[in-house]
């Protein structure tokens, strides 16, 4: 029961159980324990990992070409409603394999979720940290911008912009990314204000550290846990907005497979072929739920009050 750890001087020594009892687990071990003990985080993470793998390896997994139409085989039911294993989830209104479109659709949803969260994260964090750290006029300007942004209904603005520019994956991702930075800014501003008042920041300033250095090495690591949570929330938000826009015909353009678009395309037949809407709807629901579970979990395991 001995293990090799590195002491602060760099020399390796054998740690005996008695010492372990006195010192307790390392922070890494504690984190691991919290992660493994958090069901929501594990389930959410597993689902996201699964969907991410599905998206990445779509060409290998998908049984058919998601674009290959066969008008003679339209709207075949999924296998559990009496369909065949040739198309396990049936076919859509143009005879395209539903499962393949669902698998490729994961790419669109995850791509939009990640890229939009990164764009809005960069914008929002920059603004929030600047406002929180510098205060004064910078803070006033950023607060004003946040208020302006909060006064705009996201879906309506996105609808209008996409209607003017025409829908495409790039346009939708960019628009959504440019619209969702408000929560980043609000949370980062508040966290930065708390952290900048801490002694270690004052100490860094006292030893003459430059502002960028303080921001990057003192502030950022200490607000990162909040950032992670907001990232997950906004990812889910962006995915839902994409689905909504595509449903309204203003998002990703056909024939690109997107879950929102699939719901929209199945809508007219909802009364007689409800699975056309239910399947993509259920997957969308699962992904968003998983992301939220993971976000909640990450907050729980990284929050300072849970560290002890």
């Amino acid at each position: 029961m001995t293990q090799t750890v590195t002491n602060p001087t760099g020399a390796a020594f054998d740690r005996d159980p008695l010492l372990e009892q006195i010192l307790g687990p390392t922070p890494g071990q504690m984190l691991r324990r919290r992660v493994l003990g958090h069901q929501g985080l594990l389930i959410g993470g597993a689902v996201i990992a699964l969907l991410a793998l599905m998206a990445i390896f779509a060409p290998l997994i998908a049984p058919h070409d998601p674009f290959a139409q066969s008008l003679m085989n339209r709207m075949e039911p999924p296998v559990f409603l009496g369909g065949s294993w040739e198309h396990p989830l049936g076919t859509d209104h143009l005879g395209r394999d539903y499962l393949s479109r669902l698998i490729y659709g994961a790419r669109v949803s995850l791509l939009i979720g990640v890229v939009a969260a990164v764009i809005s994260g960069v914008i929002g964090t920059t603004m929030g940290v600047a406002a929180g750290y510098f205060g004064g006029r910078v803070d006033a300007v950023v607060t004003f911008l946040i208020n302006v942004r909060l006064a705009m209904p996201v879906v309506l603005v996105a609808l209008a912009v996409v209607a003017i520019l025409g829908g495409s994956l790039t346009v939708v991702t960019t628009v959504v990314g440019l619209l969702l930075w408000d929560r980043f800014a609000v949370v980062m501003r508040a966290s930065t204000r708390q952290v900048r008042a801490r002694e270690y920041v004052a100490a860094a300033r006292a030893v003459g550290a430059s502002t960028p250095r303080i921001l990057l090495t003192e502030i950022m690591p200490n607000i990162a846990n909040n950032l992670i949570v907001v990232v997950t929330l906004e990812m889910a938000h962006a995915i839902l907005i994409e689905a909504a826009l595509s449903f309204l015909g203003l998002g990703v353009q056909p024939p690109t497979p997107s879950w929102g678009l699939m719901v929209s395309e199945g809508k007219t037949m909802m009364l007689f072929e409800p699975w056309l809407v239910l399947i993509p709807g259920a997957v969308l629901f699962t992904l968003v739920l998983a992301i939220n579970l993971m976000g909640d979990g990450l907050r729980d395991v990284t929050a300072p009050e849970n560290r002890n």
Partner: protein
């Protein structure tokens, strides 16, 4: 326990109330309930651009002439006879004893008033094509009137039997288009009881309707409601809350067919779908200026399969830039059979063996557009689909920004090719071909009085349009109707619900 019993009683009472309360649409109270999908912008037919508005127009007003939908013959309606005085003057004898819904008599003054109003461009009639051929009208006596044409216009009778209806001139002068839209008054088989714009329209049988060619109305009340969602319409149809749903998607109609209590019928329609291609190079350097690329696109699309699987019913493959039964739609053309190999060969010949990508704009029929994209991808053409709202697509077309458009035209239910070919090939804003020769021929055809000359020149135009593959004509549409089984009606091919011909079984 007592509370539970009270609850049970209340529940039972509610169920009972619900089971008897709604006034179901049925024969018993002589009320036919109809669902319209879209809102009507103005019930005044000169300021309406919607199909629902056309339906109301035919119910509320009459034209001077009526075209029999079965035989295609023109018969007198508000007029009893007519005569061409010269190429641009048409004299009508009017029917005696006709009264408007408000009780005022119909006279030559009403015809003169209406025609003078619509012929004046300042009046702002939305579809100028309906009226721009009219210069004015003069009264000869109370029952005789002359129409003066702005140009030689051989299809005058067709337009007079369709979009041009006669309004009570004094009332119209007083209330204007907005007033007319809210409280319409005409001579038609149904009078308007109430209009709630965008929501509902209540019509009552005109008991004093004259014995005209439209027939006499049978059903007492027509209650029209706007229900935008087609699934809701179907649910309402099942529960008996509406009797008529129309312009249903083909898949839904097919599923509905065979449902007890519901009857599904379809009628082929004059509407034709087509791909417009920028052969004139208005959008700049596009592969579509090469005739071989356009021909390849024509060869690559399996229109028969689309008709069989997507449109169904009475739809047909169309090879001409017009509906085959329209006047002047001469069936001599260059035909493009479905032949992907030939399409690939043509593309290779044009230097596109590595494939090419084209933007396509459309505002409706997304499934058709996607199907076309699916076929074209088989021969190496990638379509970049842009689904936009109609005004946005029109804007792209008019500003030379749309290399390819999926479009359909119902020729405004006019049985004359001038309503489609001349609309799209006379160098107007939506002319993608800009062919001078075709323009010349169409000028002759549009203004010639002799029907044979018209046919000859439209025929020339059709031959060249197909030879050059300026369009890819696709198919004629089909309108699906669903009725509760107590309604007796045979749909016509003009995409119009004729309430006057509906009866209870």
């Amino acid at each position: 326990m007592k509370r539970l019993r009270n609850f049970a009683q209340a529940l039972a009472a509610t169920c009972l109330a619900l089971s008897v309360a709604p006034a179901f649409a049925d024969k018993a109270n002589d009320t036919l309930k109809v669902a319209f999908t879209g809102e009507i912008n103005n019930v005044d037919s000169y300021f309406n651009t919607t199909r629902g508005g056309v339906v109301l127009q035919r119910a509320i007003w009459d034209g001077l002439v009526h075209r029999d939908t079965a035989t295609g013959e023109y018969v007198g309606n508000l007029a009893t006879s007519w005569e061409w005085i010269d190429d641009t003057t048409l004299e009508f004898k009017l029917r005696e004893g006709v009264v408007f819904h408000d009780g005022s008599p119909f006279t030559a003054d009403d015809v003169v008033g209406t025609v003078e109003f619509i012929a004046n461009p300042d009046s702002g009639v939305v579809t100028q094509r309906f009226v721009s051929w009219l210069a004015g009208a003069e009264k000869i006596d109370d029952l005789t009137v002359r129409l003066n044409l702005a140009e030689v216009f051989p299809s005058a009778l067709e337009y007079l039997s369709g979009p041009i209806s006669i309004y009570p001139s004094d009332y119209y002068a007083e209330v204007g288009p907005d007033g007319m839209g809210l409280k319409p008054i005409g001579t038609g088989p149904y009078r308007v009881e109430s209009v709630k714009p965008g929501e509902s329209y209540l019509l009552k049988k005109n008991e004093d309707y004259f014995d005209g060619p439209k027939g006499s109305p049978d059903i007492g009340t027509i209650d029209i409601r706007t229900i935008p969602d087609v699934n809701t319409q179907i649910a309402e149809l099942f529960t008996g809350n509406i009797n008529v749903a129309w312009r249903l998607p083909s898949d839904l109609a097919q599923k509905l067919d065979g449902t007890p209590g519901v009857m599904v019928t379809s009628a082929s329609s004059i509407r034709v779908g087509f791909l417009m291609m920028d052969s004139a190079g208005r959008t700049g350097d596009t592969p579509l200026t090469d005739v071989r690329v356009r021909q390849a696109i024509n060869h690559a699309i399996n229109r028969q399969e689309m008709v069989d699987s997507l449109l169904k019913g009475g739809s047909k493959v169309v090879n001409t830039p017009c509906f085959p039964e329209q006047f002047g739609c001469v069936q001599e053309y260059v035909e493009y059979q479905y032949d992907p190999e030939k399409a690939k060969a043509l593309l290779a010949e044009a230097g596109y063996d590595d494939g090419l990508s084209i933007e396509i704009y459309a505002f409706s029929n997304q499934d058709y557009v996607e199907a076309v994209a699916g076929y074209l991808s088989q021969v190496g053409i990638t379509l970049d689909i842009k689904m936009l709202k109609f005004p946005a697509v029109l804007d792209k077309m008019m500003n030379d920004a749309a290399p390819m458009v999926f479009m359909s035209s119902g020729s405004w239910s006019l049985n004359d090719v001038s309503a489609i070919i001349s609309e799209f090939f006379k160098h107007g804003a939506v002319d993608f071909a800009r062919d001078d020769e075709i323009l010349e021929w169409l000028d002759v055809a549009d203004t010639a009085v002799d029907p044979e000359v018209r046919k000859e020149y439209y025929g020339k135009a059709i031959m060249k349009i197909t030879e050059q593959a300026y369009w890819a004509p696709m198919f004629s549409y089909n309108t699906f109707y669903a009725f509760t089984d107590d309604v007796d009606y045979t749909p016509t091919n003009d995409e119009i619900l004729h309430f006057v011909n509906m009866k209870w079984k």
